[in-house]
């Protein structure tokens, strides 16, 4: 079980790369365009927190289940983490003010 948890921790780490880079880079881009006040901090932070939350939730949900069920739950959580990341990216783009 520990091997599965570690492997999925690495995969969830991959899901964190893009949100973290966006959290670091996007405020600078917004500032450069003069819309720094409209930086969607909440969405950016939720974007980073989601993979962690989903990983922990999947681990908790899989407690006491067979190994296959745990791996299945973690796989679904990983896929949902990526899908939610793309949803949040789209939402950030949708609410972005017009650039001047």
């Amino acid at each position: 079980m520990i091997v599965v948890a570690v492997v999925f921790a690495v995969l969830f780490g991959f899901a964190l790369v893009s949100p973290v880079s966006e959290l670091i880079a996007l405020p600078g881009v917004y500032d450069a365009y003069g819309i720094g006040d409209s930086t969607p901090w909440v969405l950016l932070i939720v974007n980073v927190a989601l993979p962690v939350v989903l990983y922990v939730a999947a681990l908790l949900l899989g407690r006491g289940r067979p190994l296959f069920a745990r791996a299945l739950i973690l796989t679904v959580a990983l896929a949902a983490a990526f899908a939610l990341h793309f949803e949040l990216v789209a939402l950030v783009g949708a609410i972005q003010p017009a650039l001047t």
């Binding site: 991959f14 899901a15 790369v17 893009s18 289940r65 069920a69 299945l72 739950i73 796989t75 679904v76 990983l78 896929a79 949902a80 990526f82 899908a83 939610l84 990341h85 793309f86 949803e87 990216v89 789209a90 939402l91 783009g93 949708a94």
Partner: protein, 194 residues
């Protein structure tokens, strides 16, 4: 050669063995007499039957001794078992209906996510970033079928409402918002043109 004598305890218990040979008081091997042996055996049997009954057994239809392998069927338990079976059949049908009802939306979501993934771009020329992005796109496309299959697998023994709940949650989480936003933008553009 002297005669053998048994202690009083042995003499008292010995007659319970039906048709067994026993040692008489005079120490000689003797056949137990049917009258003496049968009377004691019947008394012991009645005691055993009484010991194997619980108060109120007659009212519940249990009149046989509770011996392993010879337990009388409990009518109340049989009714309960039949009720469980009916509930299980109804539950199985409900789960099947929920599965069919949610299959189409999940299929639609999957197709929508395939379109979403075609429109997304990492915006980076770094190879590692592109590989990770495409890995994410691949999993995002499979998120719907994975959620659906996992729900079916893991709620096989659950109540129908549990399966419906998880399937509904999956539909809510995996709404293809990028496509919805694009659709809204297209509507706005069309509205401004007309």
């Amino acid at each position: 050669m002297g005669t053998l004598t048994l202690p009083a305890v042995c003499r008292r218990t010995q007659p319970r063995v039906r048709n067994a040979t026993s040692l008489g008081d005079n120490g000689q091997m003797a056949r137990a007499t049917p009258d003496h042996d049968g009377a004691l055996d019947d008394a012991a049997g009645a005691d055993d039957d009484e010991a194997l009954h619980w108060a109120g057994d007659e009212e519940r239809g249990r009149d046989a001794p509770r011996l392993r392998g010879s337990r009388a069927p409990d009518p109340a338990a049989a009714v309960a078992h039949d009720g469980d079976g009916e509930r299980e059949v109804v539950g199985s049908r409900s789960r099947g209906a929920a599965t069919v009802a949610f299959a189409l939306p999940y299929l639609a979501w999957t197709i929508c996510w395939i379109f979403v993934v075609q429109r997304l771009s990492s915006g980076s020329t770094d190879l590692a970033t592109q590989v990770l992005w495409q890995f994410g796109e691949f999993l995002a496309m499979l998120a719907g079928p994975l959620w659906f299959a996992a729900t079916l697998t893991l709620t096989r023994e659950s109540r129908p409402l549990v399966r419906v709940g998880w399937l509904a949650l999956g539909l809510g989480v995996l709404v293809p918002w990028p496509l919805v936003f694009d659709f809204l933008v297209a509507l706005r553009v069309a509205g401004s043109l007309s």
